[in-house]
């Protein structure tokens, strides 16, 4: 099994990286870009086949350690 975790800055947090990437894209001529949010992507390789147990365990890890709930949101997928 593999877990895929996407961590993004919360909307209320100023994201200067996202803003800079957005203006660079505009400068390159890309149209219609409303906003860019720069986050992190983690891939975790897992032993075993119990998806629910893995989800529960990693959800806790995301909340306590892999993301900071004060400034970030996360999305966890297990496949």
């Amino acid at each position: 099994m593999k877990a895929k975790i996407v961590i993004t800055p919360k909307k209320a947090v100023v994201d200067p990286q996202g803003k800079t990437v957005r203006s660079a894209l505009e400068q390159m001529g890309h149209q219609g870009i409303q906003a860019v949010h720069v986050g992190k992507y983690l891939e975790i390789e897992l032993d075993g086949a119990d998806r629910e147990a893995a989800r529960k365990s990693l959800d806790e890890a995301c909340h306590k350690f892999l993301s900071n709930p004060v400034i970030e949101d996360y999305r966890l997928e297990i496949e």
Binding site: P9, A12, V13, V14, P16, Q17, T20, F65, L66, N68, V70, I71
Partner: protein, 237 residues
């Protein structure tokens, strides 16, 4: 007084802190390695600046789970004084000992310069000796020092007088142009509700001797030392 200065892999202001405490103030200071599980005979803890564990994942995120931080949490829970400087401030927010978080500077630049600090309140063990109305000239050196907290946390910080220092101009005005990193409310340092744990992004330990262009940082350590002496005297009485 006995100060414990934590050492994580890639701490780099630990020696500055120990030098200031020992050689400038004449107190005992020792290094405590991140794998230690106890602080020993300690009156106050300094969580120093640097890039603990390479700042991997997020600044302070990994240091928070180190064995020594469990001892620091217990020390703080018992009312012990803890000061986090720069990366140490980030570690304390990650550990939940202080509210909010530190994110990338708004201009994405690493800022290494002297700034001015306004002390918002003398009512803490970290600010008690700072002369009223004095703007402290102290260096900063960080890329992720932009203080963020949600609105209700900010309201609580203000209501409970937990904002200790704000970035200001040389004349003490808290202005947008004096804010080096985009911190909300120009916040440079805060304390917890109990007022025994504080963190700030600027480096007072690098400004304790005139040779270093400013000795305004002394006031923060002198405040801590005075608070500790008062505590010791109260215990003895």
């Amino acid at each position: 007084m006995n100060f414990a200065v934590l050492q994580f892999p890639a701490s780099n202001c630990d020696q500055d802190a120990v030098h200031a405490l020992r050689d400038v103030f004449g107190h005992s200071a020792r290094y405590v390695w991140h794998k230690e599980t106890a602080l020993g005979d300690t009156d106050a803890v300094i969580v120093p600046g640097g890039f603990s564990y390479g700042d991997y994942l997020r600044c302070g995120a990994i240091a928070r789970f180190s064995p020594v931080m469990q001892a620091v949490k217990q020390f703080a829970d018992n009312g012990g004084l803890v000061l986090g400087i720069c990366n140490g401030f980030q570690v304390l927010t990650e550990a939940g000992l202080l509210p909010g978080a530190l994110v990338r500077n708004r201009d994405l630049q690493f800022h290494c310069e002297h700034i001015f600090l306004k002390t918002v309140t003398p009512d803490s063990p970290f600010t008690g000796k700072i002369p009223a109305g004095k703007s402290l000239r102290i260096p900063i050196a960080h890329g992720e020092g932009c203080y963020f907290a949600d609105e209700s946390t900010l309201v609580g910080l203000k209501a409970n007088n937990q904002i200790l220092w704000q970035y200001c101009s040389a004349t003490g005005d808290v202005t947008e142009s004096a804010n080096p990193n985009g911190s909300l409310l120009n916040i440079a340092g805060i304390c917890n509700l109990r007022r025994n744990v504080a963190g700030l992004m600027p480096h007072p330990e690098r400004a304790c001797e005139p040779l270093l262009a400013s000795d305004d940082g002394r006031w923060i350590f002198e405040s801590m030392i005075a608070a500790l002496e008062k505590k010791t005297a109260a215990k003895a009485a």
